[in-house]
């Protein structure tokens, strides 16, 4: 590989907008291509069919994964382009990364880190912490968020076509194993405290109605998965309450 100075900073900044042109045709593809482009500078760029242009076009093909881990594919594909890997190998590499990066990211972030901190914040607010809990949530969440994006980009570049090795990093393996139970415990803790916080202004009869409504709503959501969502339940309950409130003056 020729000596190149990868522009990680610019690529990282662009990765924050990786879903900016999200669409059903290429999913994150365009965003990944835009983030990869600074790392491709240094490839021969003379003429309309240069290696640089071919790599930019490949970078914008279909791609779908967790946005925080997309940097792994960006770094790996850019490094593979500089290493002179065959185009079909790079396409296969990108395709092969979609599933694992989506799965790991979803478990680690959407089903782990985010609800863990959200649950702790709900509990803290319910216990009277106020807006400081929200500030703490933002700071702690984004320390993990930015660190993960940075690590993914660097690890992708470091490993190139052997990027699968990065997926075995303890950060991902142990992190995914630990964050699930922590999330479950935190949200479990938050639910009764939040119920008490929200029910505080209500009188006895209203609390009884609240308890019955919450249990019935939970059972309805449990028995009708897919057909009944939280939004539909909320709109249904609100419509019923408006009728009851209008009649029962």
């Amino acid at each position: 590989m020729a000596a190149v100075r990868p522009r990680f900073g610019r690529a990282l900044l662009r990765l924050f907008a990786v879903q900016g042109s999200y669409n059903y045709e290429r999913m994150l593809g365009l965003g990944v291509g835009v983030a990869e482009e600074p790392l491709l500078r240094g490839l021969p760029a003379d003429g309309p069919v240069s290696p640089y242009r071919a790599a930019v076009a490949r970078g914008a093909h279909f791609f779908n994964a967790h946005p925080y881990l997309a940097g792994l594919a960006v770094g790996a594909a850019a490094r593979a382009e500089h290493d002179g890997a065959p185009p079909d190998l790079i396409e296969r590499l990108r395709g092969a990364l979609c599933g694992p990066l989506g799965s790991i990211g979803d478990r680690l972030i959407w089903a782990g880190w985010l609800p863990l901190l959200s649950g702790l914040t709900l509990a803290a607010i319910s216990l009277g912490a106020g807006w400081t809990a929200v500030v703490a949530f933002l700071v702690v969440y984004n320390v993990g968020h930015v660190a993960l994006r940075w690590w993914a980009l660097r690890a992708g570049w470091e490993h190139g076509v052997r990027v699968a090795a990065a997926l075995h990093h303890p950060l991902l393996q142990r992190g995914t194993a630990l964050v699930g139970p922590a999330m479950a415990c935190a949200v479990g803790l938050a639910l009764p405290l939040t119920a008490q916080y929200l029910a505080a202004p209500f009188g006895a009869w209203a609390r009884a109605v609240l308890a019955v409504g919450a249990v019935l709503g939970f059972l309805a959501l449990h028995w009708l998965p897919g057909r009944l969502t939280g939004l539909r339940l909320g709109l249904g309950f609100a419509a019923l309450a408006l009728v009851v409130g209008w009649v029962w003056r």
């Binding site: 924050f16 907008a17 879903q19 900016g20 042109s21 999200y22 669409n23 059903y24 045709e25 965003g31 291509g33 482009e37 240069s50 071919a54 790599a55 076009a57 914008a60 779908n64 946005p67 959407w110 609800p115 959200s118 607010i125 106020g130 807006w131 949530f137 933002l138 968020h145 699930g180 139970p181 922590a182 999330m183 479950a184 949200v187 479990g188 803790l189 639910l191 009764p192 939040t194 119920a195 008490q196 929200l198 029910a199 209203a206 609240l210 919450a214 709503g217 939970f218 959501l221 939280g230 939004l231 339940l233 909320g234 709109l235 309950f237 609100a238 309450a241 408006l242 409130g245 029962w248």
Partner: protein
């Protein structure tokens, strides 16, 4: 509320809407954050926190994996807080939740429409994209971003229009008791959605025991604090 207040809420709701998917996903789109800041803008942090908690629980019903369609609760929470602040008193929480739910529904539809529009534009430009010209790629991408900014602004504006018109229209219709029923219904739906979403997230594996332990601890603390 002053014009400056409405404009500040519109700006904040737009930022929140863009953060959800496009830029930078730092979770200001979470209802807890969106609601608290909206409350601070209105000088009513407590209302912002309360509506933020209600919509955060509703958010647990959503796992944003793949191209799944879901309601957008960020700008919805901003509109909900504006409504609750305008209605004030017992009427606030329930009316705010109703306005927020409708705004969330519209926001979710707008996300789907935007993605379909983006798909058509990308499809039409596929030959240009295959040329590998980075300026074409950047223009397409920035275009998508700007469309999302416009979408978020429109959704927030619609939510704020509800916040402006709904409280005066319903204040005379609902009795204080009716307002409490509405608030109870909103909180019940939020708690049900929060619990249901969490159970789906936790599953039936070993995490269920951790959830039960947390739930037990939460109940003990709640009883102790009464």
């Amino acid at each position: 509320m002053s014009l400056e207040g409405w404009l500040a809420l519109l700006g904040w709701g737009t930022l929140v809407g863009v953060d959800l998917v496009s830029l930078p996903q730092m979770m200001i789109a979470r209802p807890l954050v969106a609601g608290t800041v909206a409350g601070a803008i209105l000088g009513d942090v407590q209302t912002g926190l309360k509506l933020g908690v209600v919509f955060e629980l509703l958010q647990y019903d959503i796992l944003p994996v793949g191209a799944v369609r879901y309601p957008e609760y960020g700008p919805a929470t901003v509109a909900a807080v504006a409504t609750a602040h305008a209605a004030a008193g017992a009427l606030g929480l329930g009316l705010g939740a109703v306005v927020g739910l409708v705004t969330g529904l519209v926001g979710g539809i707008s996300l789907h429409v935007l993605r379909r529009v983006n798909s058509r534009i990308v499809s039409a430009a596929s030959v240009a994209l295959e040329s590998g010209d980075p300026r074409v790629l950047l223009r397409m991408h920035v275009g998508g971003l700007l469309r999302d900014v416009l979408r978020a602004a429109l959704v927030t504006a619609l939510g704020l229009a509800f916040a402006w018109t709904v409280p005066p229209a319903l204040t005379g219709v609902l009795s204080p008791r009716g307002a409490i029923v509405l608030a109870v219904a909103a909180v019940a739906a939020a708690l049900a959605a929060g619990a249901g979403g969490t159970i789906r997230l936790v599953g039936r594996g070993p995490n269920l025991a951790w959830f039960a332990a947390g739930l037990g601890g939460g109940i003990v603390i709640a009883v102790w604090l009464r």
